[in-house]
Amino acid sequence: MIKKALFIILFLLFILKSHDCYAQSISSAELINNAKDYNGNTVVYKGEVIGDIMLRGEYAWINVNDGKNAIGIWIKKELIKNILYTGSYEAKGDLVEIAGKFNRSCVEHGGDLDIHAQSITKINSGSKIFHSVNKKEINLMLGLSGIIIAVFLSRLITKRFK
């Protein structure tokens, strides 16, 4: 009887606790659309680090995009040492997994929807993106240049004859 009661209590505690902490990563759309439900809970969020890393004293802001939206992550400076690439035209940013407290309207940061990171894991390293020159477009550009010169000269000649 005692064992059964203990099992039920532990089971209930597990359910209640599991509501506060999400082991599987949650998408940005899910977090934004159901911000009230996740507010104050520890969440796991995965995505590409994009843009600049903005250092603010002992902390920093990084923005992490999961393909749908980007969310601001408030993180200790020492935790981001491993981040080498951030997403831009020139580079694919590091893919990271953040575990931290989700805030629907962060009191510390003027009401921003953000995550205060407790840990960060680099899943995949980013890299430079090599953009090969588009040869078709070069040919098109040269062709158009030729036509423009021809039209321009024709205009001049017609004007002179008039």
């Binding site: 934004i32 903005m54 802001w61 980007a70 601001g72 003027g110 423009i148 039209v151």
Partner: protein, 501 residues
């Protein structure tokens, strides 16, 4: 009987259209040169070179085949303006579609119309990986369109003709700042470029202070200034202003949004040292009152639902979104979905009303505009006085707008006509949104945002929305920016071509 336009009329319109197209082609050299020299982006630079060549070629052919010395009449001037904006939309969309960040040519046309009309609704994909050059072009759009596509052509290519005034008026600028319309156009560009330099510098410094890399700080500064001062609301990153996580950045942005929504004539008065005009002018007074009233509505709505935990946060989030909506900028420090999911109906109604009313006339702002709102209230006051006072009493109503003006019935009627046109277009767009399956309030929000050239979104504007809604918003942005007259003239001209005798 409708008279069918003759071939010479069409050639005259095409000639001026050609001039505008050449002007547009030259502006594409800005991102081309910047891309090649500063950003070292070869492919994006090529996109702009090819697009510039297409624009120049179209312009050269039109001005060659349709060359004429004739002057434009009112109808033709209006048709040139309305069609110039459509041609500019299509040509400017070419480099964007070449970037590979748009799902269709319609999406890139939507983006350029949104930029030129200083709306700021966006359909770009993966903005965070867009090249500097293409991003610069997205922000140059509002800078060109805000001042006026025609204004650029007038300032650079037109030496002076009566046709220039007709085109100037057709672009929804009925106020001349200086006696000569070409000088007015050049003054508007002078103001804008001086502010651009100051704005880029200030936002650049703030950017460095909040932790952006110096190159990015000044690039973002220029982009955010162009889209803020021109009340467009585009930003270089997908999170819009939320990306910066900075109160100082938000305050400076609010300042530029307000400055951009003020009448260029008022800027001229300030440049001349006439500071009293700011406080005496009916527009600034109406704007101040309206912002206070709308913020009151938004604040009550947010407070009632307990959306924000304290007053400071409520003010920071509520006031930023409100000013952004009222100045018709469209910058956001919340996610689009939060409007619907969290803000509640009352706060949304406050924002919709603010967007519908808009900024000042002869500025880059959209919406009904403060001068008209002020005049409507003055006319209402006059009518109430008429009822209250004896029949033989002579009632006059005056207001101050650069000078003291006596309100006339004709003026009040014209103002009401444009106001009614705006309300009609807001409602029509909302109806199409509802027809496409979106809720009423969401549809009204997005429709008002498009037609008033605001750019705030509650989530409808997305690449997955139906094509008919994209086309509806494009027409709303275009008609709203040109304040209807040129658009009506173009439709009239097309009807005359097909049905005239």
């Amino acid at each position: 009987m409708i008279l069918k336009p003759q071939l010479k009329d069409i050639k005259l319109i095409a000639y001026y259209l050609g001039k505008v197209t050449i002007g547009l082609g030259f502006t594409m050299f800005v991102p081309f040169i910047m891309g090649l020299i500063f950003f070292k982006e070869i492919n994006p630079a090529l996109d702009f070179l090819v697009s510039a060549e297409i624009a120049l070629l179209c312009g050269l052919i039109l001005t060659w085949v349709c060359a004429t010395d004739r002057e434009l009449n009112w109808m033709q001037g209006m048709v040139v303006v309305a069609s110039s904006w459509l041609v500019a939309m299509v040509l400017s969309a070419i480099p964007l579609i070449l970037s590979g960040h748009y799902k269709s040519f319609l999406d890139s046309c939507f983006e350029t119309m949104s930029g030129f009309t200083t709306t700021g609704l966006t359909l770009v994909q993966d903005l965070d990986h867009l090249s500097y050059s293409h991003n610069l072009w997205r922000h140059l759009g509002p800078f060109i369109g805000g001042q006026g596509i025609i204004i650029i052509a007038l300032a650079l290519f037109v030496k002076g003709s009566s046709g220039s005034f007709k085109m100037y008026v057709g672009e929804a600028r009925d106020e001349k700042i200086l006696p000569n319309v070409i000088h007015t156009a050049r003054f508007i560009w002078l103001i804008s470029i001086v502010y651009l330099i100051i704005g880029t510098f200030v936002l650049g410094i703030v950017g460095v202070l909040i932790g952006l890399k110096p190159q990015n700080a000044f690039f973002h500064g220029a982009c955010v200034f162009m889209a803020g001062f021109d009340t467009a609301g585009f930003a270089p990153q997908s999170q819009n202003i939320l990306y910066y996580h900075s109160l100082i950045f938000e305050i400076v942005t609010i300042l530029f949004m307000v400055v951009g929504s003020l009448n260029f004539n008022l800027h001229y008065q300030l440049w001349r040292g006439n500071r009293k005009e700011v406080w005496k002018n009916i527009e600034t007074r109406t704007l101040l009152l309206s912002v206070m009233l709308m913020f009151f509505i938004v604040a009550i709505g947010l407070k009632k639902l307990g959306v924000y935990s304290n007053g400071m946060i409520l003010f920071r989030k509520g006031f930023f979104q409100l000013v952004s909506g009222h100045t018709t900028t469209g910058y956001m420090t919340i996610y689009a979905q939060q409007f619907i999911k969290e803000w509640g109906d009352l706060a949304l109604v406050g924002i919709i009303l603010a967007m519908a009313l808009g900024g000042c006339v002869c500025s880059t702002a959209g919406g009904i505009k403060m001068l008209r709102v002020g005049i409507i209230f003055k006319a209402l006051k006059q009518d109430i006085k008429r009822l209250a006072l004896p029949e033989h009493a002579i009632i006059t109503q005056k207001f101050h707008h650069m000078k003291t003006v006596f309100l006339e019935d004709g003026q009040a009627r014209a103002v009401l006509l444009i106001t009614m046109s705006y309300i009609t277009i807001y409602v029509l767009g909302a109806l199409i949104g509802v027809w496409c399956g979106y809720p009423v309030l969401n549809s009204l929000f997005e429709s008002t945002s498009a037609a008033a050239n605001v750019g705030l979104s509650c989530g409808i504007t997305d690449t997955s929305m139906p094509a008919i809604l994209k086309v509806t918003y494009i027409i709303q942005m275009w008609a709203g920016r040109l304040e209807f007259m040129s658009v009506f003239a173009l439709f009239g001209f097309l009807v005359a071509i097909f049905k005239g005798k």
